[in-house]
């Protein structure tokens, strides 16, 4: 496995700085993403973890510029992809970048494929949008990517419709569409939650193989630390719209520095050893439209202090390449 440390010199393909995406709702401003920053290097996998509603998917939508406007809006920050800030550019320009430089695989394979077109047509369509090549080569290229995602007998299956395939196969077709134009960054938003363990293992291996082959950078959005452990080089732990801890996968697992990360890790049962009792995180995250002034985790934190409630903890370095936003970190 390639670790973050060995990647330090490779080129940064995606750099997010102080991104804020807010939604205007009848309850007030929902700060779904509130000031997150990270860099993604070539060939690296970054995991974004956190519980439901912490802003993982909104981060992904912001990176793809797919936030519904209104009610949503990227209120500040920059997303520099391949040297260009994609926040201010027009929708037309963004449409060209989507799919070709940054692609997406989402949670639900059933809704991401159109039930009335054959899978061959759908892959070809994705290629056609971005590449100006003759019809014959499009068909060839479509077959090639379908083979790449291990669709058995791809030649005969291109005419199949999504409902004729199993969940695992459909998810591979979605993957094929994702990589069809050789993007530099692939965002995967819980692509395996609907799959069985053995099928999930096949799919994760496939993603890794493709990544190695084309030096793809992947952002893996998940709530499952197992996937993080298996797939990621670096991890960003999100809580209430912010990144509370960020570091290499070993930093996070061996030396979790934010109480929330610690609690999350202690609350999942383990395969490799007997756990007597799981830690259970009390309470619920604060509503994103009514965030406290201090640390958002304060109401659930086992080591909360007075200053946690009064002021928000700034992001501090724990060690090289490992940061956490907590007053406990000195």
């Amino acid at each position: 496995m390639v670790t973050a440390d060995t990647r330090i010199d490779t080129e940064v393909v995606l750099s997010v700085d102080d991104l804020r995406t807010h939604f205007t709702t009848r309850w007030g401003t929902v700060k779904a993403v509130d000031g997150i920053s990270f860099d993604l290097r070539r060939g690296e996998t970054l995991g974004i973890v956190g519980e439901s509603g912490c802003g993982k998917s909104v981060t992904m939508l912001s990176l793809m510029r797919l936030i519904p406007i209104p009610p949503g809006k990227i209120v500040s920050g920059s997303i520099v992809l391949d040297g260009e800030d994609i926040v201010p550019i027009s929708e037309q320009e963004m449409a060209k970048i989507r799919g070709s430089k940054i692609a997406l695989i989402i949670q639900d394979p059933m809704t991401s494929l159109n039930p009335v077109f054959s899978i061959g047509d759908q892959v070809e369509e994705a290629i056609k949008i971005h590449q100006d090549i003759p019809k014959r080569s499009i068909t060839d290229r479509a077959l090639e990517v379908l083979r790449k995602v291990n669709i058995p007998a791809a030649e005969s299956r291109v005419k199949d419709y999504p409902h004729q395939m199993s969940g695992g196969m459909r998810q591979r077709v979605v993957g094929a569409i994702g990589i069809s134009c050789q993007p530099q960054v692939l965002i995967a938003d819980e692509p395996t939650t609907s799959l069985d363990v053995t099928i999930q293992a096949q799919y994760l291996k496939l993603l890794k193989d493709i990544q190695k082959e084309s030096d793809l950078s992947i952002i893996f959005i998940t709530h499952d630390f197992g996937i993080v452990a298996k797939m990621c080089d670096r991890v960003a732990v999100m809580y209430a719209g912010r990144i509370v801890e960020h570091g290499s996968v070993r930093d996070i697992f061996n030396n979790p520095s934010h109480p929330y990360t610690e609690a999350l890790l202690a609350s999942v049962p383990r395969m490799d050893r007997v756990v007597d009792r799981l830690y259970s995180i009390e309470g619920q995250p604060p509503p994103l439209h009514d965030l406290p002034v201090g640390c958002a985790f304060a109401n659930r934190c086992p080591v909360v202090m007075d200053k946690c409630i009064e002021t928000y903890p700034e992001i501090k370095a724990v060690s090289d390449g490992h940061t956490a936003a907590c007053w406990k970190v000195e």
């Binding site: 496995m1 519980e51 439901s52 199993s166 695992g168 069985d196 363990v197 053995t198 099928i199 999930q200 293992a201 096949q202 291996k205 709530h223 499952d224 630390f225 197992g226 996937i227 993080v228 452990a229 298996k230 996968v249 070993r250 697992f253 609690a263 999350l264 609350s267 999942v268 049962p269 383990r270 395969m271 490799d272 050893r273 007997v274 756990v275 009792r277 799981l278 830690y279 259970s280 995180i281 619920q284």
Partner: protein, 333 residues
Amino acid sequence: MTTIDSSETKAERGQVLLEAKNLKKYFPVTKGLLISRTTGHIKAVDDISFALRAGETLGVVGESGCGKSTTAKMMLMLEEPTEGSILFEGGDVHNSAAVRKSYRSSVQAVFQDPWSSLNPRMRVKDIIAEPMVINWNITKAEQQERVMKLLNDVGLNEYHSNLFPHEFSGGQRQRLAIARALALNPRVIVLDEPVSALDVSIRAQIMNLLKDLQETYNVAYMLIAHDLATVRYMCTWVAVMYLGQIVELSPVQELFNNPSHPYTKALMSAALPSHPDTEQEEIILQGEVPSPLNPPPGCYFHPRCPAAMDRCSVDTPVVKEISEGHTLTCHLF
């Protein structure tokens, strides 16, 4: 049983409460609109046997469609087995009305989807009291008293009893479902993926709650799961299912220390690691689970089995006990 007092139902930990013997469930597949004829059978559950013991948990794992929920439904008498019997305290529930009646109030369930398990039009207190209304001859005041106790047991309080289900979060709804399942002092609770639909941070709460309640009331659980780590944390026994059959049944320690069946090994290697440095054997199973409509001949697992031998595609393996309580269905043993 028409009493709140549960002392008589206390059993020794480990005592067999319920036995499933050679259960089968075949769903007929029919063709034709007016005159329908049966063209085949989906063998959802194909000859399985197991026992549930007081104070212990039997975990059932396997890929989707392998028959876990169908087994649960038969245990809950929501589906009639095609063949086989369920023995409760020694009596066959399908033969004796008396056994059936006591079975009904002794076996309860918690399902996966906390949004569909509670009637949205009923108040919490009525939802939890319903099993008592049906089975027990007690006054309204006694019922409500017990509802309050049950709410306390699952970590909710009296204030919640007048609310409607939509006013609760997923985790809290699952607590309500558990309170209801406990209402009759059941001796067995069937849990069909009780934490799968919940958020990561809530799962530990519910799992700990279930463990605590088992400790207090000495109930037997049948826990259906697809996550091996959950099974390791929760269970005393594990049954691994593949295509309607139990391929390996074993005490939990033994299974994790010494997984024996090729399918169990594959499941273990496919399971996600708990730490990035965990060394895992790489067994990536090829292909997908065959259709239960026409399972392959011989061992059902042979088309995907990395250890398959010639005879596997011809002879059907039988159940063998390789050590105390550890049974396997494979020609390798």
